[in-house]
């Protein structure tokens, strides 16, 4: 019973972070902040949701599988975000402050 309510709280928190991630993805001004928002869903939200689910298992094989999924996701998601950001940087995308800075330079010169 206690486990179940803790699990519910974790799941709701996970859902909340997913939602904020999604909102951030839409509302943030430039590419890098958006990647940051998206990676929130990948990391904290998945951790919370998977722990929420683990608390609902009978602590058998399913638990182990869930943990494995978590490990797998913790390997891949941050790497993906990192690769995205790095490629963007490599490809010449600028952050918002930088864009402003260059604009100012353009105006002054």
């Amino acid at each position: 019973m206690i486990l179940e309510s803790i699990s519910t709280i974790l799941l709701i928190l996970g859902a909340f972070f997913s939602l904020t991630g999604a909102i951030g993805l839409f509302r943030f001004p430039d590419f890098f902040t958006r990647v940051h928002a998206a990676s929130v869903t990948d990391s904290i939200a998945t951790i919370l949701i998977i722990f929420g689910l683990i608390l609902r298992t009978d602590f058998d094989l399913v638990t182990v599988k869930l943990l494995l999924i978590l490990v797998f996701l913790l390997f891949t998601s941050p790497t993906a975000s990192h690769a995205l950001a790095k490629s963007a940087r490599h490809g010449g995308l600028l952050t918002l402050p930088e864009i402003r800075a260059t604009k100012k330079e353009d105006c002054s010169s």
Binding site: F72, F75, T76, T79, H82, A83, K86
Partner: protein, 325 residues
């Protein structure tokens, strides 16, 4: 509850589909298609079709999307605005859709256990297959044994696709001097890929041999194993990957997989049964079924792995050629 989730997912699918119609950026179209595939995989899970969901997620969303992206890299990502009249296609679609809606009006209600589809042939699979075949996963039983001939055909289709792509694009030459390619500057990616690739291969083996008891089987395993090598090729470059698994070997493997499958069928010939009758493969019918299913799933897995990977090689080889030129 199931119905509600179903409805929400279907709504999301509808929005995705509409968006795809109007988008001109093909890169976004392909990514949305990947999303569409994943959403339909979720619907399949929700409607209890776990094996199908697994396949859709790995084949539909995984391989198809990768191949589409590979094509876009070669053909450009913008769709030109067309001045075609859209009236005729719309008319055709409306007529077809109206015919389908008309057809639904006599359909048995959604989810009703008394539907004819649930009554005639299916109950035997549900009630008797655990005894007749000895496997808990009924989908595997039906796939590999009752309708094993379909699956043989399906393996042949994959093989035919590999033949088609190879004849169109050709395999990349196996070169000793690896050209500068792959993602040299991405240190993090390279390290993580080294960790992930063996894990993925291990998982593919698990899916291959656990398919009798849970969701999974040769198709999914083959695709996952291919995905592991594809990841390797993406991160370390195609020449490295072709060095590890040579294209000519893949061509042979794709053929060998079909031969394993058909050979199992012929084995039952010579042991006195019908084609693909696994009962005769061992003294005990259930044991025979088990041997037969493991063999043919192996054949499927080998063919799918080799076919998918050689198709990827063919596309990647084209991209590499385009880069050099």
């Amino acid at each position: 509850m199931t119905e509600l989730i179903d409805l929400v997912l279907l709504g999301m699918l509808a929005i995705t589909a509409l968006r795809i119609i109007f988008l001109k950026d093909l890169f976004a179209v392909v990514m949305l298609f990947g999303i569409y595939s994943f959403l339909s995989a979720l619907i399949f899970v929700n409607l209890d079709a776990v094996d199908v969901a697994f396949t859709e997620a790995s084949v539909g969303a995984g391989i198809s999307t990768v191949l589409m992206l590979g094509t876009l890299a070669l053909t450009g990502r913008k769709e030109k605005t067309n001045n075609h009249t859209t009236f005729l296609p719309l008319l055709v679609v409306v007529i077809t859709g109206a015919a389908l809606i008309y057809g639904t009006l006599d359909m048995p209600p959604f989810g009703d256990p008394d539907n004819p589809a649930q009554q005639h042939v299916a109950p035997r699979y549900i009630q008797d297959s655990p005894q007749e075949i000895g496997l808990p996963n009924m989908v595997t039983s039906v796939l590999a044994s009752y309708r094993g001939f379909d699956t043989l055909g399906e393996t042949a289709v994959v093989f035919a696709a590999a033949i088609g792509v190879l004849s169109l694009l050709g395999l990349p030459k196996h070169e000793k001097a690896a050209i500068e390619s792959g993602l040299k500057s991405h240190l993090v990616l390279r390290v993580v890929a080294k960790l992930i690739v063996p894990l993925t291969l291990l998982f593919a083996l698990y899916v291959q041999f656990h398919g009798d008891y849970g969701p999974g089987g040769g198709f999914q395993a083959g695709v996952i194993a291919a995905a592991a090598i594809i990841l390797y090729a993406l991160v370390f470059g195609l020449p490295m990957a072709t060095h590890v698994i040579q294209p000519t070997l893949l061509k042979a493997l794709a053929a060998i997989g079909v031969l394993i499958y058909a050979g199992t069928g012929f084995a039952s010939f010579f042991l006195g049964g019908n084609f693909l009758d696994y009962n005769v493969l061992a003294s005990d019918p259930v044991a025979g079924q088990h041997i037969g299913i493991i063999l043919i799933e192996l054949g499927v897995g080998v063919t799918v792995f080799a076919a998918m990977l050689s198709i990827f090689y063919a596309f990647a080889g084209q991209a590499e050629r385009a880069n050099i030129q």
